[in-house]
């Protein structure tokens, strides 16, 4: 028994060490530039003429073709990210069920001789538009009660059902 306890203790210490390492390793909370939440890289293509077209705010034919080939909506117009050279935002047209307005969708970056095209993660829109759309500063709350309102209604119903079940099972002596 004692050896078992010693092994359990060692395992607990190992787990604690692992958790401390993980807690040290995760990116800074709310860092919008953290790679997992900012964007998803789609593909890279060669520079020729693309950059000059992007600088003139014209959507390059080649870019649209590549995106449509991969099943993504083509961009409607291009804007330069202010203050940074060689990075652009591409917007897509409004698409009724998902986007009520024109939406910032692609992130284009020049990397040496290539141009890499990424799609912005939904989190970017969540962070940038949430306060404007709902006037609530806490992004967890507007996610919980507004964007995912149906989900929270279901969760509350689950809790209600649990309570009613306990009443039916344990409170036999009186009426509801």
């Amino acid at each position: 028994m004692k050896s078992l306890r010693a092994i359990a203790l060692i395992l607990i210490f190992l787990l604690c060490g692992l958790f401390i390492y993980v807690a040290e390793d995760i990116p800074v909370f709310g860092d919008p530039e953290a790679p997992p939440i900012k964007s998803v890289k789609l593909f890279t293509m060669e520079v020729d003429q693309v950059v000059s077209l992007l600088d003139q705010h014209i959507v390059p034919e080649k870019l649209s073709r590549e995106l449509v080939k991969r099943g993504f909506p083509p961009p409607s117009h291009i804007e330069k990210i202010p203050g940074i050279d060689g990075e652009w935002n591409a917007f897509i047209e409004k698409e009724e069920p998902h986007y009520a307005k024109e939406e910032k969708y692609y992130w284009i970056k020049k990397e040496g001789n290539n141009v890499s095209v990424s799609r912005y993660a939904f989190v970017v829109r969540w962070i940038e538009k949430g306060l404007k759309e709902t006037a609530v500063p806490n992004m967890v709350t507007y996610g919980l009660a507004d964007y995912r309102g149906y989900d929270t209604l279901g969760e509350t119903t689950v809790i209600f059902t649990a309570g009613v079940s306990v009443i039916l099972l344990l409170r036999r002596r009186s009426r509801l």
């Binding site: 119903t157 209600f160 306990v166 009443i167």
Partner: protein, 157 residues
């Protein structure tokens, strides 16, 4: 009853009597400030129910049931859900069917669409808080009651 009165612990009872109002106030703070800081309906409701649990632990079960009777408990546990679903339905009613269910912006609390959304969220959080509080208290009371001695406890109360 008399034997139980001898077991009373003055320290526990005094601390509970002082703490319960503050716990309830903190619970209301957590529910109301769900929009601005950490908090919300679920957490606040559980904190509020913990005040009832502290009362039962410090005093007795029958006294707790007297403070929060079964009828009120049952009403509250469904009232929160009714508030939530009703706020959702108000959006449809006030926009004459143009808005979706639970689209709070169309309820005319104020003149701004975004402010309406924020206020609708606050009311929804209150509904969640009421339901969670009542259900947690209800589950606690049901589990705490002894099955065979239910009638004796009723007589005590």
């Amino acid at each position: 009853m008399k034997e139980k009165q001898k077991e009373r612990n003055v320290v526990v009872e005094t601390v509970a009597r002082v703490m319960i109002p503050f716990i309830q106030l903190f619970a209301l703070y957590v529910i109301i400030h769900g929009a601005g800081g950490p908090g919300g309906g679920f957490q606040g409701g559980v904190v509020f129910a913990s005040a009832f649990i502290l009362y039962v632990i410090a005093f007795n079960l029958a006294g707790g049931r007297e403070r929060f009777p079964e009828s009120a408990n049952t009403i509250f546990s469904s009232l929160g859900l009714y508030i939530y679903a009703g706020i959702g339905l108000l959006a449809i009613i006030f926009s004459l069917g143009a808005a979706q269910y639970l689209n709070y912006g169309f309820i005319p609390f104020t003149s701004h669409f975004e402010e309406n959304r924020a206020l609708g969220m606050d009311f929804v959080e209150m509904g969640i808080g009421i339901t969670v509080m009542a259900i947690t208290a209800s589950i606690f009371f049901d589990l705490a009651q002894k099955d065979g001695n239910g009638k004796e406890e009723e007589e005590e109360g």
